[in-house]
Symmetry: D2
Subunit: 301 residues, 4 copies
C-alpha cells in the first residue's frame, strides 16, 4: 500500500492494556493551565523507567469547563490501578495543587469503569480547614492555600485503555523523519482521547525487549538495532532500507482502541505529506506480548 | 526594612543540603533542546512527593557548548546520592535519550565533588554497538539509535548544594502576588547555578511540616494555615496581614549557598517592583531543621 | 447588573464597519504555521497608525484543511477595500510566502461578499514558472521558490465586518485587570470569526478622539484621561471609581456583529471570574460615530 | 573550502547601508515584554514591501535594564532616516505603548550617530498630563494610561548599519535545509547587534531583482529561479546542484559590518552541523549594487 507516495508496510502495531485517568486542569488563563499540565505530565514517557505514562490530551475552552476557566485535559496512565492512584495523588498533589490558580476535575466522565478517591485523599492537605462542596453535579473540596483556594473534584474516573499504539516513520534523512514526526504529533493532537507521552510526542530511540549482546543480558530493553541507520552495514539483521537514514517512532496511549486507531491513522497521513518520507511501519512482538494488534492497512480501508 | 515601598521582614529562609547534578542537554535547535529539558525536569517539584527536584537552569548558546549546538543546563537534585544517580539514569535515559537530536554532557565541571558513571551505565542501551570516544577532553559514548546517534558523556559530576532557599510574596490580591512571582522567577533565571523547581517556578500552596488537626496526624505536610488569606479570620494564629489576599512562595535549589542567596536577592528585588506587593517574608522552622539560615536583610547589605 | 459580583455598566460599545479577509495559513507543522501567521499579523493593532488591523483567529487541525496540513486562520482588516487588498498582497507576499513550508488559502468561503485576486497577483513572483492548478474545488497557483513550492489560492473572499467591538475591565489593581484581560482573550479565542488585534489581544492605553489640551489639537487621538487611574484626583471629569487602580481594554474585530457580540459576551464572563475585578464598561462616542451599538446588558439576556 | 563536510562556496554576500534603531522594551515579566516586542517587529521582513525591517535582537535580564524589569532589545531599520523615525513612532506608539506593563528605552547608547526625538513626540499622547522626569541619566516621559503609566525615553539613538547580510543553505531536502536554517538562527540570536528580520529568521523564497520573463517586467523582484530546486531541469541557468532539493536563505541586519560578519560566521557554522546540508553560498549582485561585500571564506580565516 502507498499513501502520498509513501510505502505503508503490511504489518501491525502491538499494544497493551493500561489503566488511564483523564484529569481536567483549569486555571485563570490558558497559559497557567498549561504550566501545571506540563509539570504534571513530565517524566512520564514509558513505564519501563518512568513512574507513569502521561501527556496533555487537549485544550478545553472556558465555555466548556465546570468552572468557566480555560483548561487542559491530561492523561496519567499505569498498568497497575493501585500505582495509577499513587501517581495521580503525587502528580496532582505536587504539580497541580502547587501551580498558580489551578483546579482539578475528572474528565473521564461516563466512560469510567471505576472511581478513585484521589480528591478525597488530597483534601487532607487542608488540615481540616477544607470544605466539601458542590459545583454543578460534581462533588468537590475547597482547600485553603497560601495563594487562595484549590478546588479538586472528589473522585476521578479511570478505565482500561490502550498503551503502545505506534508507528515508525522512515525517511531519507533524520530531519525529514523529524518534521514528519512533528506533523504526525500535530495531527494526533486533534484526536480526542489520546496522548503521545514521549518528549514532544516523539521517540528518537525505539527499543527492543532485552539485549542481543550476551554480555548485556541484564538489560530489559536495548536499542532496536535492526532499525538503526548507522548499523545498516554493521548488523546482519538490519531492516533499514538503503534509502533511509533517519527513523522516528510515535507512541500513542489512549482511552480506547478506537481512539488509538484514529490517532494512528491521522498521524500516518500527516507524516506521508512531508517530503523525504519513504516508508511507514510499526513495532510489534510477533503478536506474542500484546492484547491489541492494530494493522496499518486496516486503518485506511 | 523597605525596598520599593515593600516591607522586607526581619527573618530567614531555612534551607537544606541536597546532592545536585548539572546536565547540559544539547540538540539540533534551541526548541528541541527545550523539549527534552522540560520532559526531563517534569514531575520534579519537591522530594516530599516527587522522585527528584529538577528544573531548567539556563540556556547555553551553540558557541559555548561541546558540540556547537544550542542547549539547556538542567539540574536534577536529591538528598541521597544513590537516589540522585538513579534519577539521573531514569530521566536522561527516558526523557533525553528518547528526545529528538539530543546529546547529554556534564555541566558541573570543576565544581564537582564526585563523579557518577551515569553515561557509562546508559551506554548499555547500545547493546554492544555503542562506541567510546573523545569530544575535546570529554569521554563520551556514541550510542546508535533509530533516529541516528545519541551522545552522552561518560561521567557526570555532582556536589552538595542547597535546597529550599525561599521567600514569600504577600500582595493585596492573588494576581499581584502572581505577577510578582513571575517577575521574581524571570530575574532568578539569569542567576547561574540555581533552579526554581516548582511549576513555572512558583509555589501556590506552601506547606508546613505535619498537621495541626489531630485527626490528620498521618500527614507529613499540610497547608501553611497561618499564611492562608481565606483563613485569616478563621484560625487564631494567622499571620496574614489585613491588606493581604494572595501569597506565593518561590523555592530555589542551587549548587551553593552563594548562588541561592544571589537568586533570593534578585528575585525579591524584582517582586517589589510589581504594584500591589505589600511584604516579603521567608519560610523557616525556627532554625531547628535546616543547615542553612539565609537572613533576608543580609541579602541587601 | 452584576455577574460574579462584578458590576456590568448599562452602556454600549460603539463599533464600525470594516472590510475583513480571512486567510488560512498552513505549514508542515503547527509551529511553522504560527510563525508565519504571527509575522503576517504583526504591526496590526489599529488603523489609527498601523497599516491594517490583523490577528490570528484560530487553529485549524490538519484533518480540516485543504492540504491536510495544520494551519491558522488569520484576519487582515481595513476600512478601505483597496487598501485591504494592498495589505493582503504585502502581508501574504512578505510574511507568508517567505515563511518556511507555508501555503495560503481563502477561509472566508461562502460568507464572502467580494473576491479579491490576491493570489493571482502574487503569482507574478513566479516569473512565469508558476503553474495554475486545482486543489479540490480551489483554483491555486504553484509558485517555485528556493525551498520548494509555495501554493496560494487565486482569489480571497472579503466582506464587510465589524471593527472596534470592545469592553473595559476595571480592577482594584493593574495585575488583576491584566490577568482578567488575559482570561478574556483566552475565552474570545474560542469564538469563530473574531480577532483581538492588539498586543496579546489587550489594550493597555485606551484613547479618546482628539485632545482636550488646547496645545495638543494636532493629535488625532490621546489618552482616555477620564479612565486613567493616576489622574483620578487630577482631572475633574474622571470616571475611575475609588476602588479601581488598573484598567485594560479588549478590542474585537470580526466578520459579523453576531460574532463580535459572542466574543464580547464570553470575554466579559471570563473577566468577571478573576478576583479583584470590580466593573466592566465599554467605549463609545455617544453613538455619534459608529454604525454599531452593542449594549452590554443585552449580551446577557 | 569545507566545514564539517559542507562546501563553503568562494563567493560573497552583498549588503547595503540602512538606518538602525535599537529599542529596549521592558515589562513586568519576560513574557509580557516578548508580546510587545513581537507585535512591534511584525510585518517587518524586507523594505521591498514591508514598511520597515524589524526583529528581536536579544533578551536583557532585569539586573541590566534601567527599570530593573526584564526586556527585549528590538531593532527597527529603514534605508531612509525620516521613514525610520516615522516607523519608530508608529510601532512604539501602536505596539509598545498599547501593550501591557511596557516601557521603552534607547538601547543604541554611545554607538548612536544621531538622536531622534521619538519619545518627545510620543508624549503628546498624554494630552498634557504627561510628566518629564529622569531615570538615572535618562530623560524620560511618564504618560498616564488606562492601565497605569507608560514610560518612554525622550530620544532614541540611530546609526548607519548594514542590511542584507546573507547566506544560503543548500541541503539534500527541504527539511534538512529548514532545520539547518533554524540552527543558524539560534546561533545568530546569541550575537549582539543583529537581527534576522524574516519569519522565524528564515527566508523560504529568496528573490532576484526584476524579472526574466519579458511579460513580467513590471515586477521589482521575482523568484530566484536559478536557485529553485523544482526548476533545476526546467531553466537553463540553474545553479542548484544535483543532490540539492531544498534551499533556505538567512538574511541579517545589524548595527555594524562586524556584527553582521560575526552573525554570518556562527550561523554558517551551526548550519553545517545538521545532517543533509551540502553547501553554503551567498547572494550578491556581482558587487554592482551594495556597499558591502562579505566574503564567506574570509569569515573563517
Amino acid at each position: 500500500m502507498e499513501i502520498n507516495g509513501v510505502i505503508i508496510e503490511d504489518t501491525f502495531a502491538e499494544a497493551f492494556p493500561i489503566w488511564v485517568s483523564r484529569i481536567l486542569v483549569t486555571a485563570a488563563t490558558e497559559r497557567l493551565a498549561k504550566i501545571a499540565a506540563t509539570e504534571a505530565t513530565g517524566f512520564g514517557c514509558s513505564v519501563i523507567m518512568c513512574p507513569a505514562e502521561a501527556g496533555i490530551e487537549k485544550y478545553v475552552p472556558p465555555t466548556e469547563t465546570p468552572d468557566g476557566r480555560p483548561g487542559y485535559i491530561i492523561q496519567i496512565c499505569h498498568p497497575k490501578k493501585s500505582e495509577l492512584e499513587h501517581q495521580m495523588l503525587e502528580r496532582i498533589g505536587q504539580c497541580i495543587l502547587t501551580a498558580p490558580t489551578t483546579a482539578a476535575f475528572d474528565a473521564m466522565g461516563d466512560e469510567a469503569e471505576e472511581q478513585l478517591k484521589v480528591g478525597f485523599k488530597l483534601k487532607f492537605f487542608g488540615d481540616g480547614y477544607e470544605k466539601k462542596d458542590k459545583l454543578g453535579d460534581r462533588t468537590i473540596y475547597r482547600i485553603p492555600i497560601m495563594s487562595g483556594e484549590f478546588i479538586t473534584e472528589s473522585k476521578f474516573g479511570v478505565k482500561k485503555g490502550v498503551a503502545g499504539g505506534n508507528f515508525f516513520i522512515l525517511a531519507e534523512n533524520q530531519t525529514a523523519a523529524l518534521v514528519a514526526a512533528e506533523a504526525a504529533v500535530d495531527a494526533i493532537s486533534s484526536v480526542d482521547g489520546v496522548i503521545t507521552p514521549f518528549p514532544g510526542g516523539i521517540v528518537a530511540s525505539g527499543s527492543k525487549v532485552g539485549a542481543s549482546n550476551p554480555k548485556y543480558k541484564f538489560m530489559t530493553a536495548t536499542t532496536n538495532h535492526k532499525m538503526c541507520p548507522t548499523l545498516r552495514d554493521v548488523v546482519e539483521d538490519s531492516e533499514v532500507p538503503e534509502d533511509v537514514n533517519g527513523i522516528y517512532e510515535i507512541v500513542i496511549d489512549g482511552i480506547s482502541e478506537e481512539a488509538v486507531k484514529e490517532a494512528m491513522k491521522v498521524g500516518i497521513l500527516a507524516a506521508t505529506k512531508v517530503p523525504g518520507v519513504k516508508k511507514i511501519t510499526a513495532g510489534n512482538y510477533g503478536g506474542k506480548l500484546g492484547k491489541y494488534q492494530i494493522k496499518l492497512h486496516d486503518l485506511f480501508e
